[in-house]
Amino acid sequence: MKAIIQKKVFNYLLKNDVKNFIGVPDSTMKHFIDEGFKKNKILITTKEEEAIGIAAGMSMSRSNSLVFMQNAGFANSISTITSLVQLYEIPMIFLIGWRGFLKNDAPEHAKIGKIQPKLLQALSLQYKVLNEKNWKTSSDWALKLIKRGKPCALILIRDFID
């Protein structure tokens, strides 16, 4: 996704009362995170599960949180999603980079990229794949869900090879 749209997504969520952006960086969402650093809103953790724990504490303090990660980190996080986020119904938005979306992405991303949609479905974690046309309506959808106390995910496709 273009840098300018990534920045718009960040600012839109910030304007709509998402107060905390916590996670492990992914180059897929570099511009989203850079924009967050400019606004002094980013907390980088040592691993993804830690970010989810912190977001859970913030969310229980009635402060809306987003957790960002690559899909490798999403795979790390599955037990935390089932036994913390979903078990206690703690609202938060996951922003997950979709490595392995392009067939010629680096080999370590191929398998997780292939099973990512199935994993999300198996978890019953509702999600939308962001693009340059739907980013605003998808963000509104996610904001509405966390206001109703439900966790959800926004997926950012890795659409370039480096």
């Binding site: 907390l43 040592t46 599960e49 912190i54 913030m58 969310s59 229980m60 913390l84 206690y88």
Partner: protein
């Protein structure tokens, strides 16, 4: 001192201040000894009590939060101690009940006899205290009242056969009553 005794001493001394209790026997002991709305009992997600505690302290800077953790939990999520040290929450008190074993799963050994959690926490910018007796623990609790965190209290405990029952409150109820107590 066994874990249940140490948990009893602390939870009674700190009144209505909030506690995030790690999964397994730590939550179960606290639930049996001193159940309160301001206790957040973890059921799953081992290792994350300190991360949840960090999120709570950062958003509620005027309230003190206690984290009840075990040596197995801390070793599983050492990165969390590093993040806490870097963020320096003044209102975070991290209590580690150290029996050098995974008691909840049958007493298998952890490496905490070889790796000193107290020294690790000190390196990670915590203010650190250590207790092996009830008397020492009570003295520390008095001492830390006016000390700014992050604070770590390492309590050496012995294993015990006394098993507390499972936390029988619905997890969503645990959350909602905890939120009411802190907000």
């Amino acid at each position: 001192m066994i874990r249940k005794e140490a948990i009893g001493i602390i939870s009674k001394k700190i009144g209505n201040q909030s506690i995030v209790a790690a999964n397994g026997f730590i939550s179960r002991d606290l639930f049996e000894i001193n159940d309160k709305n301001s206790n957040f009992y973890m059921i799953g997600s081992m290792g994350l009590a300190s991360s949840i505690g960090l999120g709570l302290t950062l958003k509620n800077p005027k309230k003190r939060f206690f984290i009840f953790d075990g040596d197995g939990n801390v070793l599983m999520n050492l990165g969390s101690l590093a993040t806490i040290g870097a963020m320096e929450p003044k209102n975070l008190v991290h209590v580690v009940f150290d029996n050098s074993s995974h008691e909840s799963t049958g007493g298998q050994p952890t490496i905490s006899k070889k790796i000193d959690i107290y020294s690790v926490a000190k390196t990670l910018k915590y203010k650190t205290y250590k207790a092996t007796t009830k008397n020492e623990l009570e003295n520390i609790l008095r001492k830390i009242k006016k000390i700014k965190g992050p604070i770590l209290i390492l309590i050496k405990i012995s294993k015990s056969n006394k098993k507390s029952p499972r936390v029988n409150i619905d997890p969503i109820k645990i959350k909602t009553r905890f939120m009411k107590a802190i907000n």
